[in-house]
Every structure is written in C-alpha cells, then in structure tokens.
Symmetry: C2
DNA sequence: ACAAAAGTGTTGGAACTACACCCATGC
DNA sequence: GCATGGGTGTAGTTCCAACACTTTTGT
C-alpha cells in the first residue's frame, strides 16, 4: 500500500524541430512494460534535489545534446487520473525547440517523428505533443520565438519555410521580412548566401536580434504612458 | 521513511479581484505549523480521483462561491526543493479571476489583501501571487480576459479603472473603448447608468460579447491565407 | 537571352493615438 | 450659467497585405 496522497511526479519534454514540410518531435521507443514498443516523450522522474526545469534538462541530456536546445519553457501539467495505468503519475510537460540546422546525435532507441504522422504513442504523449505544437504556433504570432527554430544565420526563404512548417500554411516571405525587421526582431548580417544550382539571386542573410523570448506585439493602448523604452 | 520518489502534490489558486486602486488576492491565515499565522493561497492536496483543475476547484469551493469565479487557468508548477520545509511538496498554481462587483462570503480565516501590500506570506505564496498578476497583465494585452474582471454590465470608466488597477498605470478611456469595440470584444447594451451626485453625462453601459477566453490580437501576417472567418 | 530566386516599390486600406470638441446631467 | 463626467470627430501616423516590378544569379 502506498503512502497516502503521495504521487510519482514525472517531467516530459516535447522537443520540436522544423523539417521542410512538417514539425518533428523527438521520441524514444519503450522497451519495457507498460506500453512496450510504443513511442514516448523524453523525460522521467522528478529527483529529490531538483526543480522541474532542472529535472527535464537532466533527462533530456540523456537523449540529446542540451547545447542544441535553443529554448525551453513550461507547457502544462497533465494529471488525469486515467492518463496511464496505475499507479498514478502526474507529469509536468515542457516545450523544447531545436534549430532546423541542428542534427544532434541521439541514442538507438530515439528518433525524430513527423508530428502530422505520429506513430503509436505511449500514454497521453500524443496529446501532449499536439499541445506543444499549439503553444509554438501561438507564440510565433506575438513573440520572437522563431529564433529557436532558425539557424544562427539564415535567409528569408529559409525562415519562411520554418514558419510555414510550424503553422501548417503558406507564409509570405515579403511580408514576413518586413514585419519582423520593422519590429526589430530581425537584423541583416550584410552577407549573402550562394545561389542554388539553378541560379537565382543570392539571398541576403539575417539573424535574430535577440536569442531570448520577448513579446513583440504588445497592445499599444495598454502600454505605460509617457516614457518609451 | 517515505516511498522513494513519491511526492505530495498540491494545487494552489491565485484568486484576483480588482479594487479601485490595486489588485487584491484571496488569502487565508494558517492556524497550524508550519508558518503559523502567515497568509497562504487557497488550495490543498491533489486527490486520488481528480485532475489538478478539478482539485483546485474543489479546494477553492471551501473558501469562496465558485459561481463568483469567472475564469480559471493553469499558471505554473512550483517545484523548488527548498520552497518549503520538508517533506517536499510540488504545487500546480492556477490563476482565478473574480469580477469587481462580486463580494462573495468567505470564512473567518480568509480575506482579500492588496497585492501591492501583501502580509507575510507562507512558503513561496508571495512569489506565486506576483506570477499570477504578471500573467493577467500580459493577457489583458492580447485577449478578452477583461470579461473576468468586470461586472456583467459596466461603463467604460469602470472598465478603465479595472484595467488601470491591473496594469498599474493610467489607461485612456477613449482608446480603450474604441479598440475593444473595433475588435468586437465589447458591445453596447443601449442603456445608461445614472450620473453621480456631482452630475455629469450618464455613462453608456457595455458588456463583453463573450465570456470565454479568446485571443483578440493575432499577428495577421501569420494568419492562414484565403478564407477569412 | 532566358529561367529562377530574391528583394523592393507602391498602392489602398485598416488600425491606432492624441487632442479638440460636443453632450447630458446636477447644482 | 457653470462645473463635472462622458462621448465623438478628426487629423496624422503607422501598420499591413497584396501584387507588380526589378535585381542578381546560373545555364
């Protein structure tokens, strides 16, 4: 019999990377019961001496080089009593983002899977993955979170592809460039990329002005008066 | 000795209400160790047959009439191993909002406290309260979350006061009205309020068009093309 | 020259801020 | 009338989407 009211607490990471046509999520294949053979999110038990963010970073480090993870944020708690077989488990899920040019080494049991064609997932990990993608989509609209999807330096076409993969619809390169530069999110590097084999004008290269999350679309009426920053 | 890796899981509610000059939070005064006499957020143990949202509503119902709580959303997990005395506890915090005209009956040990002058709080509950206010401020900018702060029917001046209390700075009534009506968030009721004792034109009364959270300020470049909704 | 890829100019419209002005009431 | 609180008109600005057009490359 378990101690009353004490619950196993897990942390989970939805690690997303934008492939040309779809977001991909990092999953590993379970070798043991329950749900043997199904694909699960990286994660594990919350340790006695760490908070949830430290814990998720520790568990993630077993699957992927943390240096490749450009952004981590808390997503949500999943606590349905029937989210998995007994004994009960509560999980704090995180969203992690890996730039599209990173291809970190992963263990044999671990692989990237297209989010639009997930394999059979363990527990509620499919639902958690979709929640992570939803969060990313929302934040692309009003923050500079794209920095965590893009290489250090990139062309507007590349960036357009990343936004399109995340959002699931076409994005105008022209307007993406103008909006993001107007807001100071993007800055030109001055250099250009070599054209492809079929020619074309060389693309100007940009970088994100900041590599930390920032809200870029505040509701101006509600900004403090007087002093601009 | 405790079962290894099993942790007590609490839920907590930051319940905010806008008073004329400051946000207020609902706190109760602890009668037992630890932290006897300090003020704590409503909440308690996660039960065996409920998820965290059901749990926080159950605990909250002991302090306040749930019918008065217009909006509840998950805030964040607080899990620092040293956030309180042993044994360790992890808490999922929620943000709850009560309209300014509601004055629900509360138990003797429970009272509203100005957030800008919190009493000595138990554990990390002061920090959690401030996180809740931060979330509210951010969401006022790009959602219709004001519905949960305002009475069913209100004048623009009243609404301006609620926004100003939440944000901590002056808000223009003129522009607040125009932006919110343009976005379809506010609709006029057609009736007016009686003027105060010193006269003045009677204020037109409005209501929120929806009483559920909705994002009102999407980044248009990133909207799906073709079909408008 | 031509195709391909990238970037710029431009136009019409919508959204926003600030400020002046007008309206309806109590005294 | 006058003070008070509330609402509207409007000008100037910025922001934005769409689309045509130009630039720079490879073949």
């Amino acid at each position: 019999m378990e101690a009353e009211g004490l619950i196993a607490h897990d942390v989970l990471a939805v690690v997303l990377r934008m492939a040309p046509s779809s977001p991909e999520v990092l999953l590993w294949q379970r070798a043991r019961e329950p749900h043997t053979g199904r694909w699960a999110l990286p994660g594990g038990r919350l340790g006695a001496t760490e908070d949830v963010e430290a814990s998720v970073r520790r568990h993630l480090a077993e699957k992927v080089d943390l240096g490749e993870v450009a952004h981590v944020e808390q997503l949500s708690v999943f606590s349905d009593p029937h989210r998995g077989p007994a004994p009960r488990r509560v999980a704090t899920a995180f969203l992690g983002l890996v730039p599209s040019d990173a291809d970190p080494a992963v263990p044999d049991d671990t692989a990237w899977h297209r989010v639009d064609a997930l394999p059979e997932t363990a527990f509620d990990h499919g639902e958690i993955t979709r929640a992570g993608l939803e969060r990313l989509r929302a934040k692309l609209s009003y923050t500079n979170i794209g920095f965590a999807l893009a290489p250090e330096v990139f062309s507007i076409s590349e960036l357009r592809g990343l936004y399109a993969a995340a959002l699931g619809h076409r994005v105008s390169a022209t307007n993406l460039q103008r909006v993001l530069t107007r807001r100071g999110v993007l800055v030109p590097t001055g250099s250009t990329a070599a054209p492809g084999p079929s020619g074309g004008r060389p693309a100007a290269l940009f970088r994100f002005s900041e590599r930390h999350l920032r809200v870029t679309d505040p509701f101006a009426t509600l900004r403090p008066p007087e002093r601009d920053c």
